[in-house]
């Protein structure tokens, strides 16, 4: 598939790297040759220095032959303009990153389609949605819904009190309401076998169907605490979006150390309470009642501040913590540090774009990227190796597992005796890099 990415910023380069590993034809356009240099010499893709809104540059990039045009420069208007030009030159599908909630409304969709923009990506909005999901389900670390929620993937940190701790997976198999797909222990992700056991402080990734999600609560020894009072550190764009999206579901208090910003926040988030102060100062936190809040969300521009802020607030009494971590290297560290949920705009935006790819190329595509494992939804082709018998007889690789499948629109779990039929959408967990081996099984 030919994909052109305009803008080699954080989201753009992250996407380019991921997609070039996925064996896609990638061309990256950016005005600044300095930003392209590293990509060009280290990754299997092509770069082109030039303005993404110039007809000549886009023609040179062969935009007429591309299947997907992704505009992710920091400027909303140039993204929309370049998509418009790309579409008029013959791009199949276009995606623009935007910065304005208004554009996402259904009534404006026609307008953008007419302009030649097929999809809009709004990373801050995705992040705000992610925060709300995390606050509604405080007991999970990660929550993914596949195929409209037919299959649900849940990452939970289990503690000593969980009933499954210490048990081997084969003992748990009798319950048949969930599938343990992966275990993250310290910095390593394990694809477990029957004789692996679950230890305290593991993050366990379960695959289950909609009806059985609540069972997980019991076996993990968790209770879903209802979150009401939320304290937000840093009045970033995500914070504003979150406050607006949440409405009156939560009682939000935003702390920021910039007076002008606070004034703006007060204007933009009428329902939230705005505090002018430094959230790194324990007294400010105590004054604002940190011991009483249900959740603490750190959304400043600095990943380090967010991580440390969450840890402090946890010690001071916050039940659930959420940190925005933009440095991808820090994510794995932060997960180990007892931070409830990590938000990363880049990963969210690229996940979203992967899903768009999935729509375009329905045969197979990765849909979610965890820190060092991948979850893919792959359609089994007729006569492929995977359909040749019950799963337990297939001699699958050690670094993959089949978590569930969707047959005729209904989700079901996979057991040893399940036979995969052609046309099934199979949810596969695999360690990073194994995806190509996995895809071969399905073709």
């Amino acid at each position: 598939m030919k994909i052109i990415i305009a803008g080699a910023g954080e989201v753009g380069s992250h996407l380019a790297k991921l997609l070039s590993r996925e064996e896609q034809d990638i061309t990256v356009i950016d005005q600044d040759p300095g930003k392209l240099e590293n990509l060009d010499s280290n990754y299997n893709l092509m770069t082109l220095a030039g303005s993404p809104t110039s007809f000549n540059t886009l023609r040179e990039a062969r935009v007429d032959q591309c299947d997907l045009f992704i505009a992710v420069t920091p400027f909303e208007t140039s993204n929309v303009t370049s998509c418009e030009i790309a579409k008029s030159l013959g791009a199949q599908k276009t995606v623009a990153r935007i910065d304005n909630h208004e554009y996402l409304k259904d009534e404006h969709r026609d307008f953008f389609t007419r302009m030649g923009v097929n999809h809009l990506i709004y990373p801050e909005y995705l992040a705000a949605q992610e925060i709300i999901t995390a606050l509604r389900r405080t007991w999970v670390r990660n929550w993914f819904e596949l195929h409209d929620g037919e299959i649900i993937l849940v990452g939970v940190k289990v503690r000593e009190n969980a009933s499954i701790v210490g048990h081997q997976l084969k003992e748990l198999a009798s319950q048949r309401t969930f599938h343990v797909s992966a275990i993250k222990r310290r910095h390593e992700t394990i694809i477990p076998r029957g004789d692996d056991s679950i230890k305290a402080n593991d993050i366990v990734y379960f695959t289950t169907t909609r009806d059985h999600v609540d069972d997980l609560l019991t076996i993990c020894g968790k209770i879903n605490r209802n979150v009401k009072k939320v304290m937000v550190m840093g009045g970033s764009r995500i914070a504003i979006r979150f406050a607006n999206l949440a409405g009156d579901e939560f009682k939000i208090k935003i702390i920021d150390n910039d007076r002008d910003k606070c004034r703006k926040l007060a204007e933009k988030c009428p329902d939230a309470e705005i505090i002018y102060g430094d959230a790194r100062d324990n007294e400010v936190l105590r004054d604002e009642g940190i011991d009483d809040v249900d959740a603490f969300v750190a959304l400043t521009d600095s990943s380090e501040t967010n991580i440390l802020g969450c840890m402090t607030s946890r010690e001071m009494g916050a039940w659930k913590t959420i940190a925005e971590v933009e440095n991808i290297q820090f994510i794995s560290e932060a997960e180990g540090l007892n931070i409830g949920t990590i938000i990363n705009k880049k990963l969210l935006a690229s996940s979203k774009i992967f899903q768009l790819l999935l729509d375009a190329d329905s045969a197979s595509s990765k849909c979610l990227a965890l820190a060092d494992a991948e979850v893919a939804e792959i359609e089994a082709k007729p006569k492929s190796k995977i359909t040749r018998g019950p799963v337990k007889d297939l001699k699958l690789f050690r670094d993959m597992t089949i978590a569930g499948l969707i047959r005729d629109g209904h989700g079901m779990l996979v057991e040893g005796n399940t036979v995969i039929e052609p046309g099934d959408h199979v949810v596969v967990f695999c360690l990073s890099g194994a995806i190509h081996k996995v895809e071969k099984l399905f073709n």
């Binding site: 064996e23 092509m46 990073s432 890099g433």
Partner: protein, 490 residues
């Protein structure tokens, strides 16, 4: 997803080298078949060589397990340099065990000279060698001309990754590496298709000449790769054919053009050639040289008929500039000025991204623009003057890199020459051989009047020249970096 790699991934390197050896073994089958056609005993030599090469290759590929397949910058440099050495080492086996065996130093020199398309030869009487050996020499040049790595990138899917990207950067000549298509294997394939089409066209044209089919194939291989091995002692002069000279001139010229540019011109952008400063300089340089050659030929009274002031000098100019190294009959008689011009052409060579050697005209443009700017700045110290190539402003880093390249290049010629004089080679010949090796021209040592071929150079000198050829072919940095402690330490 983020793994910091500090040590070099040797198992993976070995596996890739193994793969490449299998490919080399497949190429060896071609001279073997030739031997069988001409009913020569050397087919055994090729059979054994192919067997050894394929055996080692398969053993390395399947015998070694690598835990991870990542290859970074270091692996890219090391692998590229290693592959060229290993290819030459295995490529020399037929020379060692053929009917008329060579010594180890001779065989390695010949083999390295082949793969790097230098075309310097130690063979005295070529007629004694079997057709298989002659074809193998030319085939080596053909493989090396476009690049061993580039060929494997096109055919081995395993390398279609960022590791392959590093190897591409380490092997392909030029200052910046133009990619034609997003995936590296597609770029490699396009370049190779172009190369194969040119070879077939040339071979077809040569078949209409006094050459035999065998000679046509061999010369097609060594001409398009701008290598310069021939099947006759007298090289091209043996055929006494103006037609051959014209055809070869045209194809040597094409071999000296950036292949990416050729592809652009062929695939619907004919104007691209005239937008390229390097191409314009290439044509201009040939024209200027032509005028000077003709003047000096006439002034020395060496004008014998029309050919000696038209096609002969043109052939010589293109042959030198593209680092092919064919010579016309009475080149020695054209005088010292012509020889000096030959030095100049050898130094800069033709366009980057072609099969030619030398420092490349691209760098001459950088040097010229930068020198002009520096001089202008003496009077206007505050002026900001960019170096512009093809209408695009080049960064100062790039200009620095080019200047550094040229300095190292000159230094290496000097060092090579000085070391060679230590082996009792006359001063001028020592420097000329060193120069000829690093620029991959391979003009015979005979040019300076020191014996007919490189055979006369002592063994140690041959190894040094072979190293210089490798350094020159991989454009200095890829090989030189291996000799720095920083490359090996964590």
């Amino acid at each position: 997803m983020f793994r910091y790699q500090l040590t070099i991934n040797f198992p993976m390197l070995m596996r890739v080298v193994g793969w490449l050896l299998v490919i080399e073994a497949i190429f060896m089958l071609m001279p073997m078949v030739t031997c069988l056609i001409y009913d020569e005993s050397d087919f055994k030599a090729f059979l054994i060589s192919a067997g050894i090469t394929a055996g080692t290759g398969l053993l390395m590929t399947f015998g070694i397990r690598s835990h991870h397949t990542d290859m970074g910058k270091r692996e890219g440099f090391l692998l590229t340099a290693l592959v060229w050495v290993v290819f030459s080492a295995f490529g020399m086996i037929p020379f060692l065990i053929c009917r008329t065996p060579m010594s180890l130093s001779d065989a390695f020199f010949e083999s390295m000279s082949g793969f790097t398309t230098t075309g310097a030869s130690i063979l005295q009487e070529i007629g004694h060698f079997s057709h298989g050996i002659l074809l193998w020499r030319c085939l080596m040049q053909w493989i090396g001309g476009m690049g061993i790595i580039l060929f494997t990138l096109a055919v081995v899917p395993m390398l279609n990754s960022s590791g392959g990207m590093q190897m591409f950067n380490a092997e392909v000549t030029g200052i910046t590496h133009e990619k034609l298509r997003p995936r590296i294997s597609q770029t490699a394939k396009s370049l190779w298709y172009m190369y194969i089409i040119l070879t077939i066209a040339l071979c077809g044209l040569l078949c209409f000449s006094p050459m035999s089919v065998f000679d046509s194939i061999c010369h097609a291989f060594s001409t398009i790769s701008t290598g310069g091995f021939s099947t006759h002692d007298d090289s091209i002069a043996a055929f006494h054919s103006t037609y051959i000279e014209i055809v070869l001139t045209v194809f040597m010229f094409l071999g000296g053009v950036n292949f990416a540019l050729l592809i652009k011109v062929v695939t619907g952008d004919p104007k691209a050639a005239w937008k390229s400063d390097v191409f314009k300089l290439y044509i201009g340089a040939i024209a200027v040289m032509m005028v000077m050659f003709v003047i000096s030929i006439i002034s020395r009274g060496e004008m014998h008929g029309i050919a000696s002031v038209t096609i002969d000098p043109l052939f010589q100019i293109v042959s030198t500039m593209t680092s092919t190294g064919y010579t016309v009959t009475n080149f020695e008689n054209w005088g010292g000025f012509v020889l000096a011009l030959v030095f100049l052409m050898m130094f800069f060579g033709a366009c980057a991204g072609s099969t030619s050697g030398g420092a490349k005209l691209d760098r001459l443009i950088f040097l010229w623009e930068n020198t002009r700017n520096e001089i202008y700045r003496c009077i206007h110290p505050n002026s900001i003057l960019p170096v512009r190539v093809n209408g695009k402003v080049m960064s100062f880093d790039l200009v620095n890199k080019v200047i550094a390249f040229l300095c190292i290049y000159v230094m290496l010629i000097m060092v090579g020459g000085i070391v060679l004089t230590a082996f009792d080679i006359p001063l001028v010949d020592a420097f000329f051989s060193s120069f000829s090796a690093i620029s991959n021209t391979g003009l015979g040592a005979g040019v300076t009047g020191y014996g007919g071929s490189y055979e006369i150079i002592p063994d140690a000198g041959k190894w040094i020249l072979a190293l210089l050829m490798l350094i020159g072919r991989l454009e200095l940095f890829t090989v030189l970096i291996l000799f720095t402690p920083g490359f090996w330490s964590k």
